[in-house]
Symmetry: C2
Subunit: 413 residues, 2 copies
């Protein structure tokens, strides 16, 4: 209830639709004390690094789904080709039997560390796969690691069998957990500099909370939420193949955090779409340019690819008209392609768009991008008056599945 | 202009908003004579098969983007794990320099057949990569194949150097070309039964055009186009990891064909979203269930995975409550997960949804699915009064890019 007294009358209302920047910032500062992901930037990660150093295996298989794998995959896929690691990460996440068979068939299972990640410790896909793995591997503290909530069924398994485990802080949700043990431990094992990751995220944290540079994110969130009926689709158009994993992580973060019933019992939700350029210039761009104007577009480009692959200065018979490509670096070409598309889209007044230019293919760049998106999601949720951190809409399916499987077992007896 | 004479008056109008099923069917039968993809089901493919048999290399690299690669990838990704081929397909499509380096670094380039695919014969990405490959490989008719339009710059290259080439029929557009040489030749090389593929597509063709079983597709297309403002997003939710490629192909087909300015100069477009279950139950499902009701959902399930991977009948300490999973096949589990999600979504009245159950992981199943989607796209385009087969919205970007690159060359001199 807001009360205000103006000169000519007294006025009382329960309208709270307009939230000033100061109030919004105060709310987020309060939320920072309750919701755990904000403060992950101040963690001590030496324990993770020490554990990582002790790992001898070449294959690191993450058994986890959704928030337990998408963030790690995003960072790994972004950095793996510029890292000189002999170790590689693989992800077992689905219950598709062909997927399970082909992924496990491709590795030497005796040279593999399995990391079982589940916040609740009872995720159906993860536990099913973990059980199945028991038929292939004899687990001990050398080839198994557990990452889960304190007190979960998986933690109980780990304690009983004296398996090493790391804890996910109770107040850190799955899709906001990339900078917890969930992401940092596997990434440290395969040679990523997790201190540099956290330093990148901390830079954004400091800018936002300490230097109070929040206006840009606030304006973006206000636009998205004020125009939620007109522009119900938010496209991220990334010009680098290695941002494909980031796109998938963004889709989960945005979709699952913001697709909610609000305080007034009205369904909210902004639909995320992740595109990769230049490939999706040949797929989705036509729809953006000439289709219904129901999309915002955020372009992401990489300033420095740190890789020189040049188109040679040769003329091919029949293709003489394409000699304007000669001598160009692929890194420049992809950025020219990005700029051409940005110009085309920016010139269309009815398409709201913005451009994020990240520095390079390194830990700091990806961490800054991801932490900014976490903040943006939290701000949008405040403005939409929803809880960004739960996911009640998927519970009913879990109950139905359990019921069906128990029924199947009874009938099978 | 429609004229009709009723008993009490004569009436003239130029309304053509309501198209009867008969008129719609007649229009498609006429379009079948002009637009080439419809009749690809009646091709003789023996020439493709003979060529495929002559290929000795282990690695087959497709250099092509958009319509030149997505359909082939969809079928390859669907079938590769159930095929016993020593050959493998790889796709070079982007100008991302790190992508180019890492993909080429992973194969023995001397044991590789390169297939350059471009309808126009002058696609920037494809020609750039082709030029670059000249610095690594000495091309001859043994390690190079060209697939392009008759009379294109690439065909001229092939003729001059006596390189084998296959033609893309002029009236077959890129994103509708999967059942032409574009898809069939590479797929035949890696051991797919392309006659079975065409037979699957032909079954759908016969049902539609010969047996006139068109009502189901017509109704679906009518719903999508009549509710285009309320439900502007069409989700395909596939319950099999190997439909990920199909999803990407669908996104291009739907987005680029239907995102158009219509006859009345009004921007049209239905936004495609591709999801894979159960992974995206942990990502996008929350948004479908509790978010704004602006999406239709099509579930795709696979009846028979032809693979038995069973969850063992064991009890793990701490995880006793999960023993209801014991003894279940992963193939059954994923389908139980699909059915639970389908039940949840179907129960929500404001989410229009349908279910497609495909038979198995084989050529016929994927071909039927893809050909049906091509037909559905053509029908929707008729109802939206747009041209499904062009893509004028992406031309401006190409012009800008060329201008920028030529400018760069002049300045570089």
């Amino acid at each position: 209830m807001v009360r205000c007294k103006v000169e000519y009358m007294e006025y009382t209302s329960n309208f709270d639709s307009s939230v000033s920047n100061e109030i919004l910032f105060d709310t987020l500062k309060k939320e920072r004390k309750e919701i755990g992901y904000y403060e992950l930037v101040h963690q001590d990660v030496n324990e993770y690094i020490d554990y990582a150093k002790s790992v001898k295996q070449q294959n690191i298989v993450i058994v986890g789904i959704g928030g337990s794998s998408l963030g790690t995959y995003a960072i790994y896929q972004f950095l793996k080709d510029v890292k000189d690691s002999t170790k590689r990460l693989l992800f077992l996440e689905t219950t598709d039997p062909l997927d399970v068979k082909s992924k496990l068939g491709a590795i030497n299972i005796n040279d593999t560390l399995f990391i079982i990640i589940s916040k609740s410790g009872s995720t159906v896909e993860t536990v099913s796969l973990f059980k199945y793995l028991h038929t292939l591997v004899t687990f001990d503290s050398n080839n198994l690691l557990i990452i889960t909530d304190k007190g979960s069924p998986l933690e109980s398994y780990a304690a009983y069998h004296q398996i090493k485990s790391f804890e996910i802080p109770q107040n850190v949700g799955g899709r906001f957990s990339v900078f917890s043990a969930v992401g940092l431990v596997p990434l440290a094992i395969v040679g990523m500099d997790i201190k540099a990751l956290l330093a990148g995220a901390r830079e954004i944290y400091d800018d936002f909370f300490e230097k109070e540079k929040y206006i840009e994110l606030f304006n973006k969130a206000r636009f998205y939420t004020e125009y939620k009926y007109k522009y119900n689709i938010n496209v991220v158009f990334s010009y680098a193949s290695r941002l494909k994993g980031f796109n998938q992580w963004y889709v989960q973060l945005w979709g699952e955090s913001l697709g909610k019933i609000d305080k007034e019992n009205s369904p909210q939700g902004l639909t995320p779409v992740g595109l990769v350029g230049p490939v999706d210039q040949h797929s989705f761009l036509q729809l953006i340019v000439e289709g219904k104007k129901d999309k915002t577009v955020t372009f992401i480009t990489v300033k420095d690819f740190k890789e020189t692959v040049q188109i040679p200065d040769i003329t091919l018979h029949g293709l003489e008209s394409m000699d304007y490509l000669n001598g160009i670096d692929f890194a420049d070409l992809i950025n020219y392609q990005a700029e051409s598309t940005i110009t085309v889209v920016t010139d269309i007044k009815e398409i709201p768009c913005d451009v994020v230019r990240i520095q390079s293919i390194d830990e700091s760049s990806i961490a800054k991008l991801m932490y900014s998106y976490e903040l943006l999601t939290s701000i949008c949720a405040q403005l939409l008056k929803i809880d960004a951190y739960d996911q009640p809409g998927v519970e009913k399916g879990k109950v139905l599945l359990k019921k069906a499987l128990i029924q199947n077992q009874i009938e099978g007896v």
